[in-house]
């Protein structure tokens, strides 16, 4: 089959590889009909996530048709149309039983790495480095899905692939980010980063969870436009025009500050300020894994006793973390890998009822064969690229 493989920093290629096969009783093989490139794939692309190996197949946002199931999978049959959530969870352990799916104890064959790094082992993810399990990802024609009796959700309506594909990651991730804000009537939520997760966090906060006001922060005009026109942001703030973001938010909230803040940027933040430049330099020199520029800003900008929700990905140690601000203002911090399984059913129902349509973030469609160009375009935000969807089965597809 054809699959997108990682070979090093900004080096990805489509290769002919063996078809996946059932390795464990609860596995299924899915023929991928649509897959997407996630913003977090760019951290792999840029070489910032350790334990990647040349030849690894990328991709954790995908859906398709079940073609084979192991003897332990009773709820799926060949022919079923499914969306697969990006964390791999067993459904049986202490954490899965409590609905904390992305903390699963049993899915990661390389658990010892994150156990050393974080104290306790992390669950596995599709196509996201060997410390996260080393499972082959879904930017491929076929994919092996472990614990297929627990993860995949069947799509029984005739909704198009593009409408439901993002249940795999960015819709639950954006939604959980907004849910973590515990939005009360009258609340203002500020969202840093208007990439796909930021857009869906804005949409969830405004349209699904009833925020009074959502403020979107970015520097790319088309992303701010999408936030206002499609996601439902009430106000936007371009930090290149208004570098003092904290002051800008203070003005927009009459001195109170946002009740909740969302960092939908993560480890590769940009800022044309001294700390921003120093963070970039440190990351380039490998003195630091993360660039916590936005993280600091978010904590600084949040109102007293407010909530900071952090769906953005961080990998290691963060320099000059303003814990004084967290303590001094009594902030709540909510973060972590999305418990995607928890949101599949309720969010699918919202899509089916027409209350939400996350597909508005798509700006480009490519064939899998064109994925290397798509990565290059996405990472450089060329051609107003916000979200790329790949079709593994066509030869070429003009960008739409």
């Amino acid at each position: 089959m054809k699959a997108l493989c990682w070979f090093g920093k900004q080096k990805v290629r489509v290769e002919d590889v063996a078809d996946p096969r059932i390795l464990n009783p609860r596995d299924a093989i899915v023929r991928v009909t649509r897959t997407a490139i996630c913003g977090s794939d760019l951290h792999l692309y840029d070489g910032y996530i350790p334990t990647m190996e040349a030849g690894d197949i990328l991709g954790h946002e995908f859906m398709g048709e079940v073609v084979e199931v192991g003897p332990g999978v009773r709820n799926l049959r060949p022919g079923d149309r499914v969306v697969v959530p990006f964390p791999i969870a067993c459904g049986n352990c202490f954490f899965c039983r409590r609905g904390l799916w992305s903390a699963c104890d049993n899915s990661n064959p390389n658990a010892w790495i994150t156990e050393k790094l974080y104290g306790y082992p992390a669950s596995a993810l599709f196509g996201y480095s060997h410390m996260m399990g080393g499972y082959a990802g879904g930017q491929a024609q076929f994919v092996r899905v472990p614990f297929a009796d627990v993860g995949p959700i069947k799509i029984e309506s005739d909704l198009s692939d593009e409408k439901v594909l993002f249940l795999s990651d960015i819709f639950p991730t954006g939604y959980m980010a907004a849910e973590n804000c515990e939005i009360q009537p009258g609340d203002t939520v500020a969202v840093w980063g208007c990439g796909p997760v930021g857009q869906l966090a804005i949409m969830s906060a405004k349209k699904l969870l009833g925020a009074q006001c959502v403020i979107a922060i970015d520097r790319i005009p088309e992303r701010l436009r999408m936030a206002r026109e499609r996601a439902g942001a009430d106000m936007v703030l371009n930090y290149e025009e208004e570098p003092d973001v904290v002051e800008g938010l203070k003005q927009r909230t009459a001195g109170l500050g946002p009740d909740a803040v969302i960092d939908a940027v993560g480890m590769e933040a940009h800022a044309n300020t001294l700390p921003g430049i120093s963070d970039e330099l440190k990351q380039k020199l490998r003195l630091s894994i993360d660039r916590p520029t936005v993280l600091r800003q978010v904590l600084q900008a949040c109102r007293k006793c407010g909530t900071a929700s952090i769906p953005g990905v961080y990998g290691g140690f963060v320099d000059k973390f303003p814990f004084g601000a967290v303590f001094g203002k009594g902030l709540k911090i909510r973060t972590g890998q999305t418990h995607a399984h928890r949101y599949l059913r309720p969010l699918l129902e919202k899509i089916e009822r027409g209350e939400a349509d996350p597909s508005f973030v798509i700006t480009h469609r490519f064939a899998l064969a064109e994925a290397p160009q798509a990565y290059e375009m996405f990472v450089n935000k060329r051609d107003e690229c916000i979200k790329v969807v790949l079709d593994p089965w066509t030869a070429t597809q003009a960008a739409a």
Partner: protein
């Protein structure tokens, strides 16, 4: 192991010769010389850097290395006195080896300077008085080995320094292929031998010359089910990493076969010394080459809804630790890993009915090094690289 003993003797003889050299340099003077060396490398970096980036990188990393361990050495000029002075001596030696071998390997300019610097450091080493000031330091070094008759144990820092230095010397010798190759390779081999010494064990874990590893994990199954699983030889082979088979010989006797990441086969026989239904099972090795000499698994009911606390204890007689065991230990094949991964795999199997794996999944072309490295993954199925190995 016999060859290992000879190498140790050789190392001791070299050491005795070194002891005879005149000791003219005090620890304080040695400290000044270390900082001078750092400055020398920095200056060399400045001088060579314009011509050759590799020489620059080399000089800077050497400067950083010397400065790094000097700042933390137990002598008068340090920032924090953490590293015993005699260990500092070994680091100096490793560093000299790196300085001598690396320019050749990297094809960097200024090889003459680096080699000269290496010789200079050897002379300083010979003439430094490492024991005069603090006689206690020497005893401290043999921390664990002191009272029992075990070979000297080393810290991780020392191990990695020896590994790096020895590796560089051997590689340089192989690349060079001149008259100097043989002594260079011999020195490198001696250093690698030093790297293979036992890692220093925390004194709390050593009792009567035995090393204990204890690890516990809560598993959401009843003590009855877990006891039954650990009584089943087939399950033991499934749970414990790299164990190829466990066969019941006769009542209470089991035969274990394990293949290490290097492909070496181990075989040993155990007898069950104690078995209390739903509570514990103990084994003792009676013959063969084992990974550990005795083990006990205990089951204790946890808090409501928290399953059973499963505790695995492995005991190894310290005298057994030869260099092979140590090399295996560096790469993870040790009682510690066995206990950790064995319990983890048991939990996966008992809770989900399967053991998480990626062995056999597709991937793009892998490098040979990556393929080899995969073998050291505790959960890698070694039989896939050696067909028929399980027989």
């Amino acid at each position: 192991m016999a060859s290992g003993q000879k190498m140790d003797d050789l190392a001791d003889r070299v050491h005795a010769l070194v002891e005879k050299a005149p000791k003219l340099i005090s620890p304080r003077a040695h400290g000044w010389l270390d900082y001078l060396t750092t400055a020398g490398f920095l200056a060399a970096g400045l001088a060579l850097g314009r011509r050759d980036r590799r020489a620059l990188a080399l000089a800077l990393s050497q400067a950083g290395f010397v400065l790094g361990y000097s700042l933390f050495t137990d002598y008068p000029l340090a920032l924090r006195r953490v590293i015993p002075f005699p260990v500092h001596a070994r680091l100096d030696l490793a560093q000299a080896a790196l300085a001598a071998g690396l320019p050749e390997l990297l094809g960097a300019a200024g090889g003459g300077f680096f080699r000269g610097q290496a010789v200079n450091e050897l002379m300083v080493l010979l003439m430094t008085d490492f024991h005069g000031q603090r006689p206690a330091a020497r005893r401290q070094l043999t921390l664990v080995g002191g009272e029992t008759s075990m070979p000297r144990a080393i810290s991780r820092l020392e191990r990695w320094s020896w590994l790096g230095a020895g590796g560089v010397l051997v590689a340089a010798a192989l690349r060079r292929r001149s008259k100097a190759s043989l002594p260079l390779a011999a020195a490198g081999a001696l250093m690698l031998q030093q790297a293979a010494r036992r890692t220093r064990t925390h004194p709390a874990r050593v009792e009567h010359g035995e090393e204990r590893v204890v690890r516990a994990l809560a598993i959401l199954r009843s003590p009855e089910e877990l006891y039954r699983a650990w009584s089943d030889p087939e399950m033991l082979a499934r749970f414990l990493p790299h164990v190829e088979s466990v066969t019941a010989r006769h009542s209470r006797h089991l035969e274990w076969r394990l293949r290490t990441s290097f492909g070496r086969a181990l075989r040993w026989e155990t007898e069950v010394t104690s078995s209390q239904p739903d509570e514990l099972i103990s084994w003792r090795t009676v013959a063969g080459t084992p990974l550990c000499d005795a083990a006990t698994i205990r089951f204790r009911r946890g808090a409501p809804d928290r399953g059973t606390i499963v505790e695995l204890e492995m005991i190894t007689a310290n005298t057994r630790a030869g260099w092979r065991a140590t090399v295996a230990g560096i790469l993870g094949e040790s009682p510690t890993q066995m206990a950790r991964e064995g319990l983890r795999r048991c939990k996966q199997y008992m809770e989900t009915g399967e053991i998480a794996t990626i062995t056999g999944q597709p991937a793009g072309p892998r490098t040979a090094a990556a393929k080899f490295a995969r073998r050291f993954d505790p959960n890698f199925d070694l039989s896939t690289v050696r067909p028929g190995a399980a027989a």
